[in-house]
Amino acid sequence: MSPAVQRKICLLGGFSVGKTSLVRRFVQSVFSETYLTTVGVKIDKKTVELGGRSVHLILWDLAGEDDIASLRMSYLRGAAGYLLVADGTRPSTLEVALSLRRRVETDYGPLPFSLLLNKRDLAAEWAVGEAEFDTLRRAGWRVSPSSARTGEGVEDAFADLAARVAG
């Protein structure tokens, strides 16, 4: 059996897109409707098994980017990869995610990442069209819808990123 590895993964995105809820769903398999903003960074740990090897994911849930609190890029130091999160019901958060990705790449170079369009369960309010999905996918991005409420796409997104950063 291969020795376990430990990797730092960051979650980035605009405020209230559901980053903390995605981590809670992934780590504790729970979801809460209550919105509690993250200040600074919230750290959690989850171990996934990949091909007979344990990968300890150290999850850094970073405070959302917005006009009030700009992302402290130093939090990303030593990250092996990151998940960009946007709210599918708020198109402006997709712009924030795209901007964050450019800044991360500028400061830390190309790192494995995926884009999650969260809150997929709110179908009636969904505002991101398939055309945007296709554009990003054609650019080589890993883009998938997710729902912290239902769990849709959550495990898969973390497992996929874990496989890519585990080496």
């Binding site: 200040v39 600074g40 750290i43 959690d44």
Partner: protein
């Protein structure tokens, strides 16, 4: 630091106690060498010295080794809920890791930030709702414009329909007028055909001059004929049989009347009155009347033979007179007849009464007119009912050869 030793010690004790200070000493190979302070507060109560720090203080993943000078990772919330400011202070033999509690500060910041974010979310929702409202308004306005356009188109179509309806009504009126005119013509034609040969009736109609039908006096030949023994037959026979016989009788006579261009005045049962020289004038009314009478006699003789075979003994007699009579339409709207009134009609009728089967009795004037063309037998004065003077009756027994052909076409209508 410009602090008296006692104050410095005091502040140190305060920071250590109030901010739950905890520390780790890592070697250059990130092995945990020593640790102290409020370690339990950060979930680090069971540390194993001499082992890898990253396996125990896993929040340090990615942060080691520390390069450059001291670093601070602020507001780090650990799984237990404790928030710490993480200080990394490297030196030549390793790195000092210091954790200082920042939960209270984080909570204070979060309270403000939470309000601000909630407000922003509300504004975003409001903006979204406004956009949807505007989109709905725009859609409604578009629908309203479409409806107005449809309404205008409908009004236009309605006006066109009304114009077409008015045009149709006008055409209808024209059509009704034409139909009424044609009906009137048909009615007049029907009326005329009752007593005129169809070609003559059409002639009058095409000339458009109906003054010919107004009351007037004219010298005419009147022919009256009927069946001998008809009254007795009608009393004895079934009505259906009587009617059938009369139909055959009339079918035989009417074409003859028309071919001789006589004016059929009336049928009265088996009695038939035919006039000549009115309303269309002719040069030889007496001769035409006699020729018709002979043709009638021959036709009825053929019919009488078949009647006899069925046991009905019926004969045929004719009376012809010539003289002035008053002629014209008589009757009222819806029931007009063209008729002649005068002694000449009575004379013809009485002569007919007097005639035996197969006899054609004519007045002396008629006999004079046809004498060159007919075989005549004078019967002498004949007293008849309704006339003050006896009639000189002459029996036309036959026509001389070449005298029985139908008359030449009538002269054009008009007097």
């Amino acid at each position: 630091m410009d602090l008296p030793e006692r104050i410095g010690a005091r502040l140190q004790a305060l920071a250590y106690r109030e901010r739950k200070a905890a520390w780790l000493r890592l070697g250059t190979d990130s092995i945990l060498m020593r640790a102290g302070g409020h370690l339990e507060a950060y979930g680090l109560g069971e540390l194993r010295l001499g082992e890898a720090a990253l396996d125990q203080a896993w929040f340090l993943e990615g942060l080691l080794p520390v390069t450059g000078g001291p670093q601070i990772v602020p507001s780090l919330e650990l799984p237990g809920g404790r928030v710490a400011d993480l200080h990394l202070d490297p030196d030549a033999d390793g790195v000092w890791v210091v954790l200082l509690d920042a939960t209270a500060e984080r909570d204070a910041v979060r309270r403000v930030q939470q309000k601000a974010y909630e407000m922003t979310l509300l504004q975003e929702k409001e903006a979204l709702l406004n956009r949807r409202l505007e989109a709905s308004n725009a859609a409604l306005l578009a629908t309203q414009r479409d409806l107005e356009a449809s309404r205008a188109a409908l009004l236009d179509a309605h006006e066109k329909l009304q114009a077409q309806a008015a045009e149709l009504a006008s055409w209808n009126r024209t059509l009704e007028e034409r139909v009424a005119a044609q009906l009137g013509e048909i009615e007049r034609m029907a009326r005329l055909k009752r007593f005129l040969a169809p070609p003559l009736a059409e002639l009058i109609l095409s000339s458009g001059d109906e003054r010919i039908l107004e009351s007037h006096r004219r010298d005419i030949a009147a022919l009256f004929c009927d069946l001998r023994g008809f009254t007795a037959f009608a009393e004895a026979a079934e009505p259906e049989e009587v009617m059938e016989l009369l139909r055959a009788y009339h079918r035989a006579l009417v074409p003859l009347i028309q071919s001789f261009e006589g004016t059929l005045d009336r049928f009265v049962g088996d009695g038939v009155l035919v006039l000549f020289n009115d309303p269309l004038p002719c040069l030889d009314p007496a001769l035409r009347a006699v020729r018709l009478a002979v043709a009638m006699r021959d036709a009825v003789a053929a019919l009488a033979a078949s009647w006899r075979r069925r046991g009905h003994a019926l004969g045929f007699g004719v009376g012809i007179a010539q003289g002035f009579a008053t002629l014209g339409q008589i009757g009222f709207e819806g029931r007009f007849d063209y008729s002649a009134i005068g002694t000449v009609v009575n004379a013809a009728s009485r002569l007919c009464e007097a005639a035996k089967d197969g006899q054609i009795l004519v007045t002396a004037r008629v006999a004079d007119a046809v004498a060159p063309l007919a075989e005549l037998v004078e019967l002498g004065p004949l007293s008849v009912k309704g006339l003050s003077r006896p009639l000189s009756a002459v029996d036309v027994t036959a026509l001389k050869s070449d005298a029985g052909a139908p008359a030449s076409p009538a002269v054009a209508a008009g007097r």
